[in-house]
Symmetry: C2
Subunit: 343 residues, 2 copies
């Protein structure tokens, strides 16, 4: 569809996005100055998150609309998962360069529809503007939790806790390398798997809700892995005043990531320090096999115990890292730049 | 401050923005994956809005940080005003080009602080990312209303209603012309006034709350004027199924805008069709002078009656515009491009 024949702003909103507000009376079909949220259960609370993705920074230039939509929704719902919240609604802002046409928007909205069917949220508002710069998309996700006390926090890790992760670690960071043309020695299936993991986060909403419903003395600090395993576990340590020891041999790896590590063991630094996995890292007061099995069954995603809190009390600036990872010989693995910083 | 010496993302958030979360326990000092909202009164509801501003599109290139902050907060709170909501909190996303340094962020955050003191909201979350493109800022504002029925809507105009506006009209659009170097025949004070009106919206929160508390049979359709008086009143007409007749001689004008019109009467099209006033346009079942005086006193902003609903029933595509404006001779004023479309 040519630019000249594209719909104007108001027609674009009513054509592509208003259908995503269906079933939410308070969204007013996106025709008003704001949305009314009057359907949160009276005994619950809301959780709010916001994430922005910039073309060429957070997703590859010329990514298809399906990838942009899945990544945008995925990273925000992953934050809700880390808080133990159930998705409720979202506000969507699109800053669109000239080359984005109606067929692009149709595919983007179609993927939003697929994800809202999977995760039960509505698009209740937002903004669409033109930009002379790169495609820039922002989502604010609203979730709800059963009661204020049932919110998950980074600050709840204790010195007696074990450390767990969901899914597999390192796929996102290796997927970015593969998407940029690297890891060419891997076979096509492995590369495709890793690229898919980078492009398409699976927010662990179900696991987050399972953790939020554990007894308060059992559930610990929780964070989603966006900056990298060591950095995000470090965030838990920072907020909880606790250090951690990680056994790198126990970190769950996908077959593709294992194949990559077999060929280049130095990639362990990328696995530990790279981001974009959107799994959950969390601490628990009970890491017995039977208890972990129950969490796996209820959360519908694999969970592995990868380490434990360090008995060393935390003192600022004593040179000991918040998170130490050790290899199969028990030696500390040094990661030069743990975590992704956007600046 | 040089880029090399600037703070990293996490330090920037804790240094500049965490203080803006003070007093909201659920914001967790911006250290968690999301914010908890558990302080909304149980008998109330929330309203959510989102607006994005792009440098060079919605504000002039190289605008000072104070202007960007005031405009971003202003346009979002103006949406809350149009819904009759009281500001509660906001989420802030900044996509920052390389030339934005810590001193810029310090000024930006300082203005946010000034505005949060005036309007009583907290910054409870958000995102900061790097962009190779123009500065792009997004705010999602959350407000609350006393009860679900007390939300203002665009759809509540009735054929018996009069049309009112707050403040003065046309200053924003003329201010943009002046800021771009136009209207040089005006004196310096007039130009400065208009540029200030373009840069610094005054959200009419107080008036919105007064309107929301009127008897349901008195209050009508409400919209804030961002796209332009005719376009935004047209939005009310569209959603309410009502047409309007406006008497252009009754539109309240600032002395600066009057001076500009005296020199160039054709600017009336800009006054009627241009945007960025961030006043409220609304319809009322009672426009008697005594009633309007009460609204002015309670809302702490001037209000003028500028027209009335048209008895002609609305039929789609009959060629009659939703809003007709007439000049002092009663002749229809033609506005070629009413309203600002971002595409």
């Amino acid at each position: 569809m040519s630019i000249e024949k594209d719909l104007g702003e108001f027609d674009r909103i009513s054509h592509f996005f208003a259908p995503l507000a269906q079933g939410r009376k308070g969204a007013f079909s996106l025709t008003d100055d704001g949305a009314l949220i009057d359907d949160v259960p009276r005994d619950g609370s809301m959780v709010a998150t916001m994430d922005t993705l910039v073309e060429g920074v957070h997703f590859l230039t010329a990514s298809p609309p399906e990838t942009v939509a899945r990544k945008l929704i995925g990273v925000n719902l992953s934050d809700l998962a880390a808080m133990g919240a159930r998705p409720h609604s979202c506000l969507l802002s699109l800053a669109l360069p000239r080359n984005i046409d109606d067929s692009w928007l149709a595919s983007f909205a179609g993927t939003l529809r697929t994800m809202q069917d999977e995760f039960s949220f509505a698009v209740i508002g937002g903004d669409t503007v033109a930009t002379p710069g790169p495609l820039t998309v922002t989502l604010s996700a609203l979730g709800h939790i059963a009661a204020p006390g049932r919110v998950l926090r980074r600050s709840a890790a204790r010195p007696s806790h074990g450390v767990c992760v969901s899914g597999t670690i390192g796929d996102g960071a290796l997927g970015l390398i593969a998407a940029r043309g690297g890891l060419t020695e891997l076979d096509g299936n492995d590369r495709a798997y890793l690229i898919d993991r980078y492009n398409h986060p699976r927010p662990r909403i179900g696991l987050g809700r399972v953790l939020a419903n554990l007894a308060p003395e059992t559930v610990g600090g929780v964070c989603d892995i966006s900056d990298g395993l060591l950095a995000d576990l470090g965030h838990i340590g920072e907020q909880s005043g606790v250090r951690f020891d990680i056994d790198a041999t126990r970190i769950p790896l996908s077959p593709a990531t294992r194949h990559a590590l077999d060929r280049d063991p130095s990639l362990i630094e990328t696995v530990l320090g790279g981001g974009d996995d959107y799994e959950l890292v969390f601490t628990l007061g009970d890491t017995s096999p039977g208890f972990i099995e129950k969490i796996i069954a209820a959360g519908q995603v694999d969970v592995h115990v990868i380490g434990h809190a360090d008995a060393t009390p935390k003192a600022n600036d004593d040179g000991i890292p918040l998170v130490s990872a050790r290899d199969e010989r028990g030696e500390r693995i040094t990661v030069i730049h743990p975590g992704y910083s956007h600046f």
